[in-house]
C-alpha cells in the first residue's frame, strides 16, 4: 500500500468508477474463459492479474482518493481482483486436468509387447524332487544325513550284511576303483550313509539320505550308470514293521496324493530281515475301474516303488547298536524313478542331457 498522496488531485480518478472497474472485471473474466490452454492462461494472468494489469493499476489509485472514498473503492477493486484470480485458478485446474488426460492418452503403449529381457533360470527337477522328499521327512522330525559317493567297500557291503561271497553282491554291478586292493567303490546304494549314521550317532535315529548312486549299467532309456536314491533309517526302542508301513503310507500320500497308500510284498535284502518290496497304489487309476487301460501302472493298479524292511540285527551289531535294546526299519526308493512316474517321463535320458529347455519347464519348484 502506498502512502498518502501528497499532490492530491481532487478530480475523481477515472479507473475507480464502478462501471470502469466492472468493465475491467468483465474483460478479465472473458479473457480467462477464452484461454484455451495453459500457455494462453498464463498470458491472461499476466494481462489481467499481473502487476501491470488494469485492476492492479486501479488498485494503486485507491490511495489517491479522499479517505472517505477509499473504503468503497477498495472493496470494489478487491472484489474484482478476487473474482479474476478465482476464475484463473478454476480455469487452471480445468486446463491442467485436460492436459493430463491428453498426455496419458498420448503416452499409451502396446502392453502386449514381449517383456522378457533377462533369461530365466531353473533348478534341476531331481534336485527339487530330492528336496521335496527331504522336506516331507523333516516335517515329521527326521534329519537329512549325508555321506561320500566314493565309499569304502566295507561300508557299502560288509557292514550291511553283504559279505564278500554274498550272492546279492552280484545283483549290484559295482564300479570299483584303482588300485583294487584299496577296497574303494562308487557306492551302489545310499545305505552306507545309514551305516555311517549309526556309527556316529546314538539312537533314537530318524534320518533320510538322498543322494547319487552308481551301477555299471549301460546308459539307455531305462538305465543309467548314475541315478539318485533316497533312503530312510529309523532306530529306536520298539520299532516294528507297522511303523515302517505307517511311515511309507504317509510318504506315499504326501508325494502322490491323498489316499495313496502302499503294499508290501516279501522280498530279500541282506540289510533287512524281514524285507519287503514296496508298491505304491497307482495315483492315476487308483486301481479302480480304469486300471485295465492305465498306462502308468500298466494295468497292475500298483507301481513298484522301492525296498524296505526291519534292519537286520547283524547290521545293528556291525554298526554298534545293541539289537536287544533297539530295533529299526529302513527303506529306499529311486528318486529318478519316482520322478519319472510322477511326471510321466518314459525315457530317463533328458534328466542327464542338460538341455536347458527341458529343465526350464520345471522352474524352481515341483
Amino acid at each position: 500500500m502506498s502512502g498518502p498522496n501528497t499532490d492530491y488531485d481532487p478530480v475523481e480518478v477515472t479507473p475507480l468508477k464502478a462501471d470502469e472497474v466492472e468493465a475491467m472485471r468483465e474483460a478479465a473474466l472473458a479473457a480467462v474463459a477464452a484461454a484455451s490452454d495453459l500457455d494462453a492462461l498464463k498470458q491472461v494472468r499476466l494481462e489481467h492479474a499481473g502487476d501491470r494489469s488494469p485492476l492492479a493499476l486501479a488498485n494503486r489509485e485507491i490511495g489517491a482518493l479522499p479517505p472517505q472514498a477509499r473504503k468503497e473503492a477498495g472493496q470494489r477493486v478487491g472484489q474484482a481482483r478476487g473474482a479474476v484470480n478465482q476464475a484463473i485458478a478454476a480455469r487452471q485446474a480445468v486446463l491442467e486436468a485436460e492436459h493430463e488426460e491428453r498426455m496419458l492418452v498420448e503416452e499409451t503403449v502396446d502392453v502386449t509387447l514381449p517383456t522378457q529381457r533377462r533369461r530365466r533360470g531353473s533348478r534341476h527337477p531331481l534336485t527339487l524332487q530330492s528336496e521335496l522328499i527331504a522336506d516331507l521327512f523333516v516335517a515329521m522330525g527326521y534329519e537329512v544325513a549325508e555321506g561320500p559317493v566314493v565309499e569304502a567297500e566295507w561300508l557299502n557291503f560288509d557292514a550291511l550284511n553283504l559279505g564278500p561271497d554274498h550272492p546279492a553282491r552280484t545283483m549290484q554291478d559295482t564300479f570299483w576303483t584303482e588300485p583294487a586292493d584299496h577296497h574303494v567303490v562308487l557306492r551302489t546304494q545310499t545305505s552306507p550313509v545309514q551305516a555311517r549314521t549309526m556309527l556316529t550317532r546314538k539312537p533314537p535315529i530318524y534320518v533320510v539320505c538322498p543322494g547319487r548312486v552308481f551301477r555299471t549299467d549301460e546308459y539307455d532309456a531305462t538305465h543309467s550308470p548314475m541315478f539318485h536314491q533316497v533312503e530312510g533309517l529309523v532306530v529306536d526302542e520298539g520299532i516294528t514293521m507297522a511303523h515302517l508301513k505307517g511311515t511309507l503310507d504317509h510318504f506315499a500320500s504326501q508325494l502322490f496324493g491323498e489316499g495313496i497308500d502302499t503294499r508290501f510284498r516279501p522280498s530279500y535284502f541282506p540289510f533287512t530281515e524281514p524285507s519287503a518290496e514296496v508298491d505304491v497304489r497307482c495315483f492315476v487309476c487308483r486301481g479302480g475301474d480304469g486300471v485295465a487301460e492305465c498306462r502308468t501302472c500298466r494295468g497292475e493298479g500298483w507301481i513298484e516303488w522301492g525296498g524296505c524292511g526291519v534292519v537286520n540285527p547283524r547290521v545293528l551289531v556291525a554298526c554298534g547298536v545293541d539289537p536287544d535294546v533297539h530295533s529299526g526299519f529302513a527303506f529306499g526308493m529311486g528318486i529318478d524313478r519316482s520322478f519319472m512316474f510322477r511326471h510321466n517321463l518314459e525315457d530317463l535320458r533328458p534328466l542327464f542331457e542338460g538341455d536347458v529347455r527341458w529343465s526350464s519347464a520345471f522352474g524352481t519348484e515341483i
Binding site: 559317493v149 508290501f264 530281515e273
Partner: protein
C-alpha cells in the same frame, strides 16, 4: 523261474475255483512275485490244425533250392474236405506224416498273417509250420513232425503242442533258492493258497541202498563236496527222442531241448532243484575223484572254453585228468554225445560259497550254478539221481545198473533259538506263539519248546540261520498285507542343517540369476583334461581311476565340473540354442594317495580309530559349483540390442552366490586353464582361494564346440558354505546429509582396479560411506598404456552433518594414497 501251471498241479491239489491269477496273486503276496502269465500260443490266432501229408512232389528251382509241392489232408478244417495244396521248403518229412498246418486266415507270432498266395507256380493255401514259426523255440531239422498217435487230421493242434498251456513266470529272490524248483513252488502253493492240499514231494521216493557195485568215487574234500551220489544206466539208446511233455516243460522254463539224457537231467533239476551232471560212462577211466584244483591245471569245459583253474576250484577227475568243474560245468571229454549208450549220473552236494566263487572267477552263469551257489537241499541227492535213472530207463530203453555209489552224508541243519513272541515284536501285529509254531512247521521247520522256541529249519532252507529269519517266515505267511499302518513318534527334529539350507540357497540364487541347473555324470578321461588345456603338472590331472569303467574314454572320477558343463553347453549349442547359462553343484574326487580302506570285522562296531582310518582312506570329495554361460546375457528385442555375456558375468555369478552367503568375494588376475590367460580371475574369500572365473580360452571353446567368448567359473562350495556369515547384526544407517565427490584417476593399464579401490577406501577413512567405479576410459586423452578410472565417492558421518571441506579433504587423502600405492594421478 518259468513253469507251466499244470506242472505245479502235479505236486499239489488246488481247489478248482482258484484261477491262475488268484494262485499267482497269493504267491506274490507270500514272496514269489509274478512276473507274467504267458501262453506259448498266445500270439497265434485262426485255424492251426493237424494235417496228414498225402503227397509231396520235389520241384527243383532255378535258384538252386528244391521245394515240395504237397497235398495235405486237413479234413473239414478248410471247409471243403478237399486236400490242401501247400508249398513247403523243408524236407524232413514224408507222405503219411502228421504235420502242423496253419490255414489261410491264421496269424502266427509276429503278426505274420497267412493267406493263399501264388508261389513257385502253385497256389499255396497255408503253411506247414516249424517250431520257430510257432514261437516254440529253435528249429532243428525243419518242420514239426508229430508222433503218429498225436491226433486226427483237422484237429486243433494247440492242445497237442501245449500251446494253450498257461506258463507262469515267478521272480525268485536269492534267499529262496528252493523255489527254483517245482518242488519248492508247489510247497509255496501249499502254504500260500487257501484250500491247497495233497502236497506230493517229488524228492521223496524209495531209493535203492548204497552198495559197493557202483562206479568208484573218492571225495578228497569233504567240506567242498559233502555228498556225492553216482548211478549208471547202460544200454541206452542215444537216438531216443525226448517225450513231448519233458521237452515242452523245459522249453517253457527257458531251456533248450538237446537230447534225452541232457533233457532229463534238466527236467529233474527243475523238478527237485537238485542240479545233476551226466557223464558218458564209456569215456570215464577209473575212479572219480573230487578235490581242489592244483596250480596250473587246465580244463576245457563243455562250452568249448579252455580254462586255467584256480587252487580254490573244486574239480572232478578220473585217471585221464580233470573232467569237470564240480557243480559248475562239466568237461568236454566226458560229455554226453550222439553215440552215448552208457550214462553215469552224478548228484552231488557242493559248498555254496565255493560254487559262487568259481562261477564268478570263470564267469560261468548256468542254471546249475545258480542253484548250487544259493543252496540246494543236501538230502535229496539219492532221490534225484534215482529219478534221472528212472526216466532214462523209461524213455531211453536202458537198464539201471545195480551199483549205487553214495559218498558222505548231508550235514545236519543247525537249531536256532527263536523267542516265541519275536514275530509279534518285529511285525507290530498280534501273532501268537501258537500261530508262529504252526506256520514254522508248515514251511518244514521242526519246532520244540515254548517261550524260547528251538527251531530247526528243513534241509532245503539253508537261508534260515538267524532268529529274525524265522520271524520273516511267520510274518509273510500271516500276510504282509495285515501289518498295520502306524506312524512312529520321532523326537523333535532340528530341521535341515545350516549347510543344507545354504546349499539350497545357492541353487535358488543362481536360478534367480538366470542359470539352469544340470546334472552330469562324474566320469572323465585324460582326453577331456587335454581338451581343457590342463598342463601336465596340474593337480586336476591326479585322477581316481575306475577298474571297470563303462568307457575307456571316461575311466576316472572327475576332479573338475568343467568338462561335464562344457560338454552339456556344447549339446545345447548343438540343439540350436544360442543363449545358454547352466550351473551344476556336485562333488569332485581328489585322490590323496592314501592307504587301503580296511575290510573290518562285522561282529562288532569298529573302533573310532578304525572308522577314522576308513574315512581317511577315501579321496577328498569337496562339493563344487560350476557355471558356464554363452550368447546373450540379456536378450535383444524391441527395446534395443542384447548384452553378450562376458568374463564379468562368470565372476558375478559366483559373486551372487557369495552375496547370498553374506561373503565378500575378492578377485585377482590369474593364469589358469581352461581360462583366457588375460581374462581369468582367481576368486577368494578372506584370503582363501575358492576358485576361478572368466572367459574360456578360445582353444577350449573350439575343442568343446562352443562359440568364442563362452565364460565359466568353478569354485569350492564347501569352503564358501563353511565361511558363510552366520549371525548378522542388524545394520544402522546415518540420516545426515550425504556429501558426494567424484574423482577420475589415471593409472598404468596393468594396475588392477581392485588395488586402486582398496587404496581409495583406506585413504578416505571412516567418513567414506561407499565407493563406485562408474567409468573406465582408455584412449587418446590419457595416452597409450594408461587408463582412467572414474569413481563416485559418498561421504557421511553417522552422528552429524559434515563440515565444509571435510569431504573434500577425505577425497584428497584418498587420492593421495592411491597415488602413492598405484601411481594414480588425478585426471585434470
Amino acid at each position: 523261474m518259468k513253469t507251466p501251471v499244470s506242472w505245479i498241479k502235479e505236486y499239489v491239489d488246488v481247489p478248482a475255483h482258484v484261477t491262475t491269477e488268484e494262485l499267482t496273486r497269493r504267491l506274490t503276496l507270500t514272496g514269489l512275485k509274478l512276473e507274467g502269465i504267458h501262453s506259448p500260443g498266445a500270439e497265434i490266432t485262426g485255424p492251426l490244425v493237424v494235417g496228414r501229408v498225402l503227397t509231396m512232389e520235389p520241384e527243383p528251382q532255378k535258384n538252386g533250392k528244391t521245394i515240395n509241392w504237397c497235398t495235405v489232408d486237413v479234413r473239414d478244417a478248410n471247409g471243403t474236405g478237399e486236400p490242401q495244396g501247400i508249398v513247403c521248403g523243408a524236407h524232413n518229412f514224408a507222405p503219411g506224416d502228421l504235420v502242423v498246418v496253419v490255414l489261410p486266415g491264421g496269424v502266427l507270432p509276429g503278426g505274420f498273417a497267412i493267406s493263399a498266395r501264388k508261389t513257385y507256380g502253385h497256389v499255396s493255401a497255408g503253411m506247414i509250420c516249424s517250431a520257430r514259426e510257432l514261437g516254440l523255440g529253435e528249429d532243428h531239422d525243419g518242420i514239426i513232425v508229430l508222433p503218429p498217435d498225436a491226433g486226427e487230421p483237422g484237429q486243433d493242434v494247440r492242445g497237442i503242442l501245449g500251446l494253450d498251456e498257461e506258463v507262469v513266470e515267478l521272480e525268485i529272490n536269492p534267499d529262496r533258492a528252493y523255489a527254483l524248483s517245482l518242488r519248492g513252488i508247489a510247497r509255496e502253493v501249499l502254504v500260500s493258497v487257501d484250500g491247497a492240499t495233497g502236497f506230493r514231494d517229488p524228492a521223496v521216493r524209495d531209493t535203492p541202498l548204497a552198495n559197493d557195485e557202483g562206479h568208484p568215487v573218492v571225495v578228497e574234500d569233504g567240506e567242498g563236496c559233502p555228498v556225492f551220489v553216482a548211478r549208471k544206466v547202460t544200454g541206452f539208446d542215444p537216438a531216443a527222442p525226448t517225450p513231448d511233455v519233458i521237452a515242452q516243460r523245459i522249453t517253457a522254463a527257458g531251456m533248450r531241448p538237446i537230447s534225452l539224457a541232457v533233457d532229463v537231467t534238466n527236467y529233474v533239476m527243475l523238478e527237485t532243484g537238485r542240479p545233476i551232471h551226466a557223464y558218458d560212462a564209456d569215456e570215464l577211466q577209473g575212479a572219480l575223484v573230487v578235490r581242489r584244483a592244483r596250480g596250473g591245471e587246465r580244463l576245457t569245459t563243455l562250452d568249448g572254453t579252455a580254462r586255467e583253474l584256480d587252487p580254490a576250484d573244486l574239480v572232478v577227475t578220473d585217471d585221464s585228468g580233470i573232467i569237470g568243474l564240480g557243480g559248475v560245468m562239466g568237461g568236454e571229454t566226458t560229455e554226453i554225445s550222439a553215440t552215448t549208450t552208457s550214462v553215469l549220473v552224478e548228484a552231488a552236494h557242493w559248498d555254496a560259497v565255493s560254487m559262487f566263487r568259481t562261477g564268478k572267477r570263470h564267469r560261468i552263469s548256468s542254471e546249475a550254478g545258480k542253484r548250487n551257489e544259493r543252496g540246494v537241499d543236501p538230502t535229496i541227492c539219492e532221490a534225484a539221481a534215482d529219478r534221472v535213472v528212472e526216466l532214462l530207463v523209461e524213455h531211453g530203453g536202458g537198464q539201471a545198473h545195480p551199483g549205487v555209489t553214495v559218498v558222505g552224508a548231508p550235514p545236519a541243519m543247525p537249531t536256532v533259538e527263536v523267542p516265541g513272541d519275536l514275530a509279534a515284536r518285529v511285525s507290530g501285529m498280534a501273532v501268537s506263539e501258537e500261530q508262529s509254531v504252526e506256520l514254522l512247521r508248515a514251511v518244514g521247520c521242526e519246532v520244540s519248546g515254548s517261550g524260547v522256541l528251538s527251531v530247526t529249519p528243513p534241509p532245503w532252507r539253508p537261508d534260515l540261520t538267524d532268529a529274525q529269519d524265522f520271524s520273516e517266515e511267520v510274518i509273510r505267511l500271516v500276510g504282509y498285507d495285515r501289518v498295520p499302518s502306524v506312524l512312529p513318534t520321532p523326537p523333535s527334529g532340528r530341521g535341515l542343517t545350516r549347510a543344507q539350507r545354504l546349499r539350497r540357497r545357492v541353487g535358488r540364487t543362481l536360478a534367480g540369476e538366470g542359470y539352469v541347473e544340470v546334472v552330469s555324470f562324474p566320469f572323465v578321461g585324460d582326453a577331456d583334461l587335454d581338451a581343457l588345456g590342463l598342463p601336465p603338472d596340474d593337480r586336476r590331472r591326479d585322477l581316481l581311476r575306475l577298474s571297470n569303467p563303462l568307457s575307456s574314454e571316461a575311466d576316472a572320477m572327475t576332479t573338475t565340473l568343467l568338462p561335464g558343463l562344457l560338454r552339456t553347453a556344447g549339446r545345447n549349442v548343438g540343439h540350436g540354442l544360442g543363449d545358454v547359462a547352466i550351473f551344476e553343484t556336485a562333488t569332485v574326487t581328489l585322490p590323496r594317495g592314501s592307504s587301503p580302506a580296511a575290510i573290518l570285522p562285522v561282529d562288532r562296531r569298529p573302533t573310532d580309530a578304525e572308522f577314522d582310518a576308513l574315512d581317511k582312506a577315501l579321496p577328498a570329495q569337496p562339493l563344487h559349483l560350476g557355471l558356464v554361460a554363452l550368447g546373450d546375457a540379456d536378450g535383444s528385442g524391441w527395446w534395443g540390442a542384447g548384452r553378450r555375456v562376458s568374463w564379468a558375468d562368470a565372476v558375478d555369478g559366483v559373486r551372487a552366490v557369495a552375496d547370498a552367503l553374506g561373503l565378500t568375494l575378492d578377485a585377482r588376475a590369474a593364469v589358469v586353464a581352461p581360462w583366457h590367460p588375460g581374462r581369468c580371475a582367481e576368486l577368494s574369500v578372506d584370503g582363501v582361494v575358492v576358485g576361478h572365473a572368466g572367459e574360456v580360452h578360445p582353444k577350449v571353446c573350439q575343442a568343446f564346440g562352443l562359440p568364442a567368448r563362452t565364460v565359466a567359473a568353478e569354485v569350492d562350495l564347501d569352503v564358501l558354505v563353511e565361511r558363510a556369515v552366520d549371525l548378522r547384526h542388524a545394520p544402522s544407517f546415518s540420516t545426515y546429509p550425504v556429501a558426494k565427490e567424484d574423482v577420475a584417476l589415471v593409472v598404468d593399464a596393468a594396475v588392477d582396479a581392485a588395488d586402486v579401490e582398496a587404496a581409495l577406501r583406506e585413504g578416505a577413512g571412516e567418513l567414506l560411506e561407499s565407493i563406485r567405479l562408474f567409468d573406465v576410459y582408455t584412449g587418446d586423452q590419457v595416452g597409450a598404456g594408461r587408463k582412467s578410472l572414474a569413481y563416485a565417492l559418498r561421504f557421511r558421518a553417522p552422528d552429524r552433518t559434515l563440515k565444509e571441506g571435510e569431504a573434500a579433504a577425505a577425497r584428497d587423502a584418498a587420492v593421495a594414497l592411491a597415488g602413492e600405492r598405484t601411481g594414480a594421478v588425478q585426471r585434470s
